[in-house]
């Protein structure tokens, strides 16, 4: 049946080197990606209470969606890597990370919907998948290679001919030919040394960063996975998919080059391609680059090979220091920073906070030569290439304080006896679950709530672009808002089925952030993420597209695009509200696993700095980094600055209670209840929670 699925999932047991397959049909009801991986984890995990991600019983999965490998715009490229992680606080929960490029499509073209890896190899290996053939190759000589060196080796090992020629994937003439290279996902050098930081890298700069996926690979004596295939993805309605793509392109900037609309709204689809260019030094030539099937193309490849396929925090972790050291100019130091994290396979997200933390400790005489925390890293050269190299290598090779940093940030701070103090001040802004502050929960509170109730920084910008960036830019630059606060609230609320009867969902006033409307927003956001963003893998840089200058009355493509594209590929007859409902189901499945792993309302706490208005996460107090957000005040919608707002602990705890109740969970501990699980068809999960004494009452 042509529905975007291949029909089988590859299983690999590293302990026995047994290779098998799971029928995808058994898990199709979970969509793909995260939902499918969580369901498979539930069925296969020997011990669902496992919290040590380095345990051989951990399962690491790379799971596509039915849209992967198609040209569903910005929905055909990414995959979800799922595993019990190494970074989280107080334990490593079942977590995951999304990765783009061409990995996901190549998994489908090799004839698989996903790869499930269990066990641990006796010796270092890399897995070679060519169509349906799987071999285990000796990785002893690759173990200390960086991610680019590893991929170069494997490419030359696997390919019979040069890149750009027709490569034969077998001996028979019908065995398949391709001009492409294998798609490889690999760790950096000896990733077991920095497991919680270790990312899996694909091509030059695609990464599954958060949570220590590379550390999981390394703990299994697994260096890399190479996938090579020449098959295809059958789609239910090819004409429909083309029509849908053409329609979506009409909302994109590059689809409107003859009539570019000026907007500072930073809307996902309507604004620029090649956003990575903002990180390049002045005058650097490059191309835009995008993942398979993308319509946005947020990355780039440069004329000097540096910074290829890096974006966002790959640049930003070091660019402020580079600019500070060079009178505002961006130099090669920022590109060296990019390439270091890509080559060494280091999660770039926590790096900026780490530098700020170390800088604060150094400048306050706590860290340095002969200081309480002994370190001889070149702190005087922060902003220069030397420091970027020194710090990343310290982490990767456990040099100097790198041996402590490599444990993970909260683990390192604990070892140094500084966790409580530095989190309270914001020097080390661990917002929730041990993950570094991303957007400020004191101001853009929907972001913080999303993190509080999940196992990692969710990194989902669906509201962020509209609720924070757009009004803040308008306000900073004195521009007339392109959408009034009232109209923004109206558009966004209207798209948030089944909560679309509440017009106050995006109210970020001092009352609004604790309101029942906010609870609905957070719930909707989590469901949308779980299904559309992480299971069907619609890319965060394009979706949700609520507001778009190319849309009629400024309305964006969400939810029509998600529904149309899914239907064109799968013909499931699934409406948007069905997808949201499925997101709730996936969330409850994961919640159950986290509960077995020890999650409790007492572990769902914000870092102390969130209660302190003058705390400076990222080195920025509120007045230094103004937040302007939509608020409903005295019945009127306005864009207003949050000033020096902080969170109130009593109100936070009350919000948690009401949130748990709204989700149908036990208010005292946050555990799912039998009634909720049975409502979702998850009776078997209720039974298992009950057997562990962890079923909500």
């Amino acid at each position: 049946m042509a529905n975007g699925y291949i029909g089988k999932i590859l299983t690999i047991d590293l302990t026995t080197q047994e290779v098998g397959e799971i029928e995808t049909a058994k898990y199709e009801s979970w969509g793909g990606g995260e939902g499918m991986a969580a369901a498979i984890y539930w069925d296969l995990a020997e011990d669902k209470t496992l919290t040590d991600g380095t345990d051989p019983r951990n399962i690491i999965q790379i799971m596509t969606s039915p849209l992967t490998g198609t040209f569903a715009p910005s929905a055909g490229g990414r995959v979800r890597v799922s595993y019990v992680g190494l970074w989280g606080w107080p334990v490593g929960y079942l977590t995951g990370s999304l990765i783009g490029g061409r990995l996901g499509s190549m998994i489908k073209f090799a004839g698989w919907d996903g790869v499930v890896i269990t066990g641990k190899s006796e010796t270092p290996v890399w897995i070679n998948v060519i169509q349906d053939k799987v071999t285990f190759e000796n990785a002893t000589d690759l173990w200390d290679l960086d991610t680019w060196e590893t991929q170069e080796f494997i490419w030359s090992d696997v390919m019979e001919r040069e890149l750009g020629e027709w490569n034969y994937l077998g001996t028979g003439r019908d065995d398949g030919r391709t001009t492409q290279r294998p798609a490889i996902i690999t760790t950096g050098p000896s990733a077991e040394k920095y497991g919680p930081w270790s990312a899996l890298i694909h091509d030059a700069g695609q990464a599954a960063g958060q949570g220590g996926s590379g550390g999981v690979f390394a703990s299994k004596n697994l260096k890399a996975l190479s996938i090579y295939g020449t098959g295809g993805v059958e789609i239910a309605d090819p004409t429909g998919l083309m029509e849908a793509r053409q329609w979506v392109r009409g909302f994109s900037a590059s689809g409107n080059l003859d009539d570019l609309k000026t907007t500072a709204m930073s809307v996902p689809m309507g604004s620029s391609q090649g956003v990575a260019a903002v990180g390049y030094p002045e005058g650097m030539k490059a191309r835009v680059h995008g993942c398979s099937g993308c319509i946005r193309n947020c990355k780039g490849r440069t004329e000097r090979k540096m910074g290829n396929e890096s974006r966002c925090l790959d640049f930003l972790w070091y660019s402020s220091f580079d600019m500070a050291a060079h009178k505002g100019a961006k130099t090669d130091a920022v590109l060296v920073g990019c390439d270091q994290v890509q080559r060494l396979g280091i999660n770039s997200y926590p790096m900026m906070s780490t530098v700020l933390w170390l800088k604060a400790l150094y400048e306050n005489g706590i860290l340095g030569v002969g200081k309480q925390i002994e370190s001889s890293l070149p702190y005087d050269l922060i902003g220069e290439e030397e420091f970027a190299v020194a710090l990343t290598e310290a982490i990767a090779y456990n040099l100097d304080i790198g041996a402590d940093l490599a444990l993970g940030l909260w683990q390192c701070a604990t070892k140094w006896g500084r966790l409580e103090e530095d989190v309270a001040s914001g020097w080390l802004p661990l917002q929730a679950s041990g993950y570094v502050h991303h957007y400020d929960a004191r101001h853009e509170t929907e972001w913080g709530w999303g993190n509080l109730f999940q196992e990692r920084d969710h990194n989902m910008h669906d509201f962020n672009y509209f609720v924070f960036w757009a009004p803040t830019i308008w306000g900073l630059m004195g521009m007339e808002p392109e959408v009034s606060a009232e109209r923004m609230a109206e558009i966004i609320s209207s798209k948030m089925v089944p909560f679309n009867d509440d017009p106050n969902l995006i109210d970020h006033s001092d009352e609004g952030i604790y309101s029942d409307s906010m609870i609905k927003l957070v719930r909707w956001h989590t469901y949308y993420q779980k299904y559309y963003k992480e299971s069907l893998v619609f890319c965060d840089y394009t979706y949700a597209d609520f507001i778009n200058p190319y849309g009629e009355n400024m309305e964006g493509v969400t939810p029509k695009a998600e529904e149309w594209l899914t239907e064109a590929v799968t013909a499931k007859g699934e409406k948007f509200e069905d997808g949201i409902a499925l997101g709730r189901k996936i969330y409850n499945l994961e919640r159950a696993i986290w509960t077995l792993q020890g999650r409790h309302r007492d572990t769902e706490v914000y870092g102390e700095y969130n209660y302190n208005p003058s705390a400076a996460p990222f080195g920025l107090a509120t007045y230094e980094a103004p937040y302007t957000v939509p608020m409903r005040i005295d019945g009127e919608w306005v864009y207003k600055s949050t000033n020096s707002r902080s969170l109130d602990k009593v109100k936070v705890e009350d919000f948690k209670t009401r949130y748990y109740a709204a989700e149908g969970w036990d208010e005292t501990n946050g555990w799912p209840t039998r009634a909720t699980l049975e409502e979702l068809g998850l009776d078997y999960i209720a039974d298992e929670l009950e057997s562990y004494g962890k079923l909500g009452a």
């Binding site: 000026t262 500072a264 903002v278 925090l313 930003l316 505002g328 960036w469 004195g478 920025l620 230094e624």
Partner: protein, 133 residues
């Protein structure tokens, strides 16, 4: 907007770097990506940090960063930390009409830059490279 010609001592104070603990923090906004702190230790650095850009420059692409500094804090810092009350007064007057940050950025930049040049002229031959550091 002109600032009174400074004395030699004033010019030296205005051109000097402040102590590490007295730096002023601005923000580099990268739209749709994040915010980063920009830590500045002199009037000269602040003048270089601020940009003369308008809202149109952020249209369509938002590819440019926004270099933000809180003006009220800047005035206080110039007066109390750098020790240049005259300059602080001029900046304060400039920002007092309540225009948005971006609409004032180029003008504040110009005032600070002019002050730096003014101080350099006052110090003349006695000014060395180290004096600017």
């Amino acid at each position: 907007m002109e600032v009174l010609t400074p004395s030699i001592e004033q010019a030296q104070r205005t051109l000097c770097d402040v102590a590490t603990g007295d730096i002023i923090v601005g923000t580099v906004f990268t739209p749709r990506s994040g915010q980063m702190p920009a830590r500045m230790k002199s009037v000269h650095e602040v003048s270089q940090f601020l940009e003369d850009l308008t809202g149109r420059d952020y249209a369509v692409v938002s590819r440019k960063n926004i270099h933000h500094i809180d003006y009220s804090s800047l005035v206080t810092w110039i007066r109390d930390t750098v020790g240049d009350s005259d300059l602080a007064t001029v900046v304060d007057e400039l920002i007092s009409d309540g225009r948005a940050f971006g609409m004032l950025s180029g003008e504040v930049k110009e005032v600070l830059s002019d002050r730096v040049r003014q101080c350099e002229r006052v110090l003349g031959p006695s000014l060395t490279e180290e004096g600017l550091e």
